[in-house]
Symmetry: C2
Subunit: 230 residues, 2 copies
Amino acid sequence: MNTAASSKSSLSEQAWSIIRTAILNGALGPGAALPFQMLQNMCGMSVSPVREALTRLVDAGLVEVEHNRGYRVTLLSSAELHDITMFRIKVEGWAIEKSIELGDAEWEVNIVSTLHRLGLTPRDTPGGEGQFDLWESRHLEFHRALTAACNSPLLLQTCAQLYDKTDRYRRLSQTVENTPRDAHAEHKDLAKAVLDRNAPEAKKLLAGHYQRTAGLVAGYLANDTTAPAA
Amino acid sequence: MNTAASSKSSLSEQAWSIIRTAILNGALGPGAALPFQMLQNMCGMSVSPVREALTRLVDAGLVEVEHNRGYRVTLLSSAELHDITMFRIKVEGWAIEKSIELGDAEWEVNIVSTLHRLGLTPRDTPGGEGQFDLWESRHLEFHRALTAACNSPLLLQTCAQLYDKTDRYRRLSQTVENTPRDAHAEHKDLAKAVLDRNAPEAKKLLAGHYQRTAGLVAGYLANDTTAPAA
DNA sequence: ATTATTTTTATTTTCGAAAATTGTCAATAT
DNA sequence: ATATTGACAATTTTCGAAAATAAAAATAAT
């Protein structure tokens, strides 16, 4: 028998989740070194599953490795943010376009309901810690709903990866945002354009939505890279 | 990338290269089981580096894993081929468009030279074994040259991944092709459109180029999945 | 004879330690 | 004082075996 709590996933899966979460919520900041001893303590397991988790995080772009010289959390840069944003506008735009073309009634319903649920979830203020995580997951659900009908595993997978890659930047934007723009209004407009099956308008709104966020954060990111932490 | 095992790389890098090559050239066919004992013999090393290599191949989509039930080579399907082709036309088309916008003289020179070198390399007939690998690497160089000036690491990385994912289908097309179309003429036309800075024409030719190949191979792939081999 | 249950075998996953590599720091030489 | 060398320490990478899990075979039961 196993120690309860965990479902039935492998240790490397757990390690992946633990380390990834720590990177995304900033406990392991950009540039932070990731020595094995520390990660093994953190995950409560041996070196093998930790290594496997790191390998996957490298593929996802959250971690970098230099052979025989260890792993470290990937830096953030305004250059990368711009690159990702540009690509994301295109890819997610394609996915939404195809979804508009192929989506059925159930797809529409799911957009409406995920949007509504997102609207009920404040992005910050109360609860402190886990609040943003909750908003994040509902935000993700909404964006997934928009593209869900595109009928392309590859497009969906790429969107998911890009969403992951922008997570840390999105959290920065929350911290930074001095001009409290009405993000939910943007989401509502976007959903409306999609439900109206107006692809060009939807793509335009999506682009604006992302570029606005990117612009805000880019200013905070100074030139190219953030300073290491921890 | 590296076909042969290079001098000072890690064992897991070698394992990755060995297994990946075996999958691409068909020694490990679609659906083939990948037990560790076999892979360890094949690579001449212990379990750890093999595991790491497999993890990376799973991320690349060449291998699939079922927890506690082993790894196997991903199947080919006409559905996946169509999905990849659609996405590739969009992504690579966009990369070419941006390259046309930003490319300088050196970029042009590189297109001309890689095209010429590709033209000198027969795709099959002589030499047998390694011949197609040589053509493959030059073909890759040519396509890389077209998109090289797009100034987006993410786009280039995605193009590279998609090229990798289509490798096995491309080899099938070589085997299958009963109508010996003039592939090199298509490459020349594409290069001309790019050098003329005619983005719409280039994208049109690219789309036709890929769709033709996909159509040919899709017919051979029957319905959805190929039978396992070896 | 067929289904269920236990035992055996084969494979994957994880561990803990050995081997290999890199980084540190003092001692010596220039 | 600066640079070079060599031992030592810290860390990564790899190994080989133990633990855990799934598949197969054999035995028992209906």
